[in-house]
């Protein structure tokens, strides 16, 4: 399944935050969206997944979601969004219960996704007992449980420290290696973008518009920390963003 954005624009209280965004998210690819703060990248992600209605334009799903897909457009949130009163197991089963998946069938799915995210030993733990990285892995497991067609990741690693971020990036790469998925990955971290993105969409400051789309051809499993080629790409991205970020930083909120 693919996603196509056609002329998306959005305003809050007559205040334009996003203008004319047209974009294709091809199946099996990770599209990173980067931009200065306040450029509306998180809003754009909410629009893609149907959590917010755009003022202009539309989001299209092209093709049918794969067989056995319970929730085609599935989010991974920055702050994990785990229910603190449910165990790791319970948090994953939450999203299966509404589809009538209980008992053995649920056990099987949950055991599988927890194994894929290296959480098998922690099924009974409560979120408060887990580190930030583990919490985000639970959120990833929960997303995998519904067998999504497209993963919508909203700064998934931004709440984590840099070591954990590296580890989790490796985890995401190995998940992709095992079974390529389609994803929109919003981040302000250019390092993450060049490591995980097949294409990187650079948004301008408010009102957010597409400034440039950078394509990286190297398979993501071959990209490593400190790769000189990636460094050059990252530098190029930073040059694109620098002036925008500076100007965005100097703007007054709601001025």
């Amino acid at each position: 399944m693919e996603i196509r954005l056609e002329g998306i624009g959005h305003s809050y209280d007559g205040f334009e935050v996003m203008r004319d965004i047209t974009l294709e998210i091809p199946a099996g690819r990770i599209v990173c969206i980067v931009g200065p703060s306040g450029c509306g990248k998180s809003t754009l992600l909410r629009i893609i997944g149907g959590l917010e209605q755009p003022a202009r334009g539309r989001v299209l799903q092209i093709g049918e979601p794969p067989e056995g897909c319970l929730n085609p457009l599935t989010y991974i949130f920055q702050d994990f969004a785990l229910l603190p009163w449910r165990s790791v197991y319970g948090n994953v089963s939450l999203v299966l219960e509404d589809h009538g998946i209980r008992g053995n069938e649920a056990d099987e799915i949950i055991a599988d996704v927890l194994a894929r995210t290296k959480l098998s030993d922690f099924a009974k733990a409560l979120p408060k007992q887990l580190s930030g990285g583990m919490k985000q892995r639970v959120a990833i497991a929960r997303a995998l449980a519904v067998n999504p067609a497209v993963l919508l990741m909203d700064e998934p690693l931004s709440a984590l420290d840099s070591q954990t971020r590296e580890l989790l990036m490796d985890d995401l790469v190995s998940l992709y290696e095992r079974q390529p998925f389609t994803a929109v990955y919003v981040t302000h971290n250019l390092g993450e973008a060049v490591r995980l993105g097949h294409s990187i969409v650079v948004l301008s400051r408010r009102p957010g518009q597409i400034r440039e789309v950078v394509h990286l051809d190297r398979p993501i499993q071959e990209r490593t920390l400190g790769d000189p080629d990636l460094e050059i790409r990252q530098k190029h991205l930073w040059e694109l963003m620098r002036a925008e970020a500076q100007a965005a930083d100097a703007e007054l909120m709601n001025a």
């Binding site: 959590l51 989010y75 969004a81 509404d98 409560l126 408060k128």
Partner: protein, 272 residues
């Protein structure tokens, strides 16, 4: 201070003064017992020595005797039974209705706009003043007593519940929506458990109010009940029995509070 500085300077440095700590009270079980014992011992001593007159305060040992009489004659349970059932039925009605209305106010704009002013108008009414009205509406029997207690617990429960629903983390609700959970599932599995801490702390207040109203409810048309017992003793100026009754109410309050504490520890174990 200059002295200390001098000494420290001689040693080639000065220890940093500790200025953190505090602001984190921890439970110390025995302190409460000491406070109670000291107060009761003071009252006993004063009434025996005569610097507290018998009309000011009954002697604690006499109250104990009155209490023992209550138990031995079996009257205690004749009074406690009806009171507890009034408390249970009345507060159950009030609390359940309060939680339901509170959740509706928390979730629907129309209900909120319509009912919040109404609840604000009902809250400050002394419910005791409405007892005659309840007697006309629900009869002199148990009905008016249930109604008074239910009404008294309803308003604080509503206010606590909708405040708690307002405080449920919206990102969790968005998460539920993003996974396609049904409205009912979101309310049952996200809103209600998320609001539970606030609801339970509101319950402490509601149930204390229920105990207060118990005495009021038994003012009219009650032969048995702790409230009736206290009122009767009061009108006869029988201070020992009055205090025995008051002690029962206090103990009831302590038990209710401990019970809610147990429920909290069980239901809210997930909190950090």
């Amino acid at each position: 201070m200059p002295d200390a500085t001098m000494n420290a300077d001689a040693a080639g440095g000065r220890a940093v003064t500790f200025r953190g700590g505090g602001f984190a009270p921890r439970p110390q079980r025995w302190v409460a017992f000491v406070v109670f014992t000291v107060l009761i011992a003071l009252a006993e001593w004063g009434t025996r020595e005569g610097w507290i007159s018998a009309l000011t305060l009954p002697r604690p040992s006499d109250v104990l005797t009155a209490f023992r009489d209550l138990i031995q004659t079996g009257l205690l349970f004749d009074h406690l039974g009806p009171s507890l059932s009034r408390l249970a039925v009345g507060s159950a009605i009030g609390v359940v209705a309060g939680i339901m209305v509170g959740i509706l106010i928390g979730l629907f704009s129309l209900v909120r706009s319509g009912l919040v002013p109404l609840v604000a108008a009902l809250f400050p009414i002394p419910k005791i003043a409405l007892l005659p009205l309840f007697v006309i509406w629900f009869g002199i029997g148990e009905g008016s007593k249930y109604a008074l207690i239910a009404f008294g617990t309803f308003t604080p429960t509503v206010v606590a519940t909708y405040g708690a629903v307002d405080n449920v983390d919206r990102t969790l609700i968005r998460m539920g929506q993003s996974f396609g959970l049904s409205w009912l599932s979101i309310v049952r599995k996200i809103v209600l458990p998320g609001a539970m801490p606030g609801i339970l702390s509101g319950l402490r207040i509601s149930l204390a109010i229920a105990i207060i109203l118990l005495v009021a409810a038994e003012m009219l048309g009650a032969e048995y009940g702790i409230g009736a017992y206290i009122l009767e003793a009061g009108s006869l100026y029988d201070l020992e029995r009055l205090f025995a009754g008051v002690v029962i109410l206090s103990l009831l309050g302590v038990f209710v509070s401990a019970a809610i504490g147990m429920v909290e520890r069980k239901l809210l174990a997930w909190r950090t």
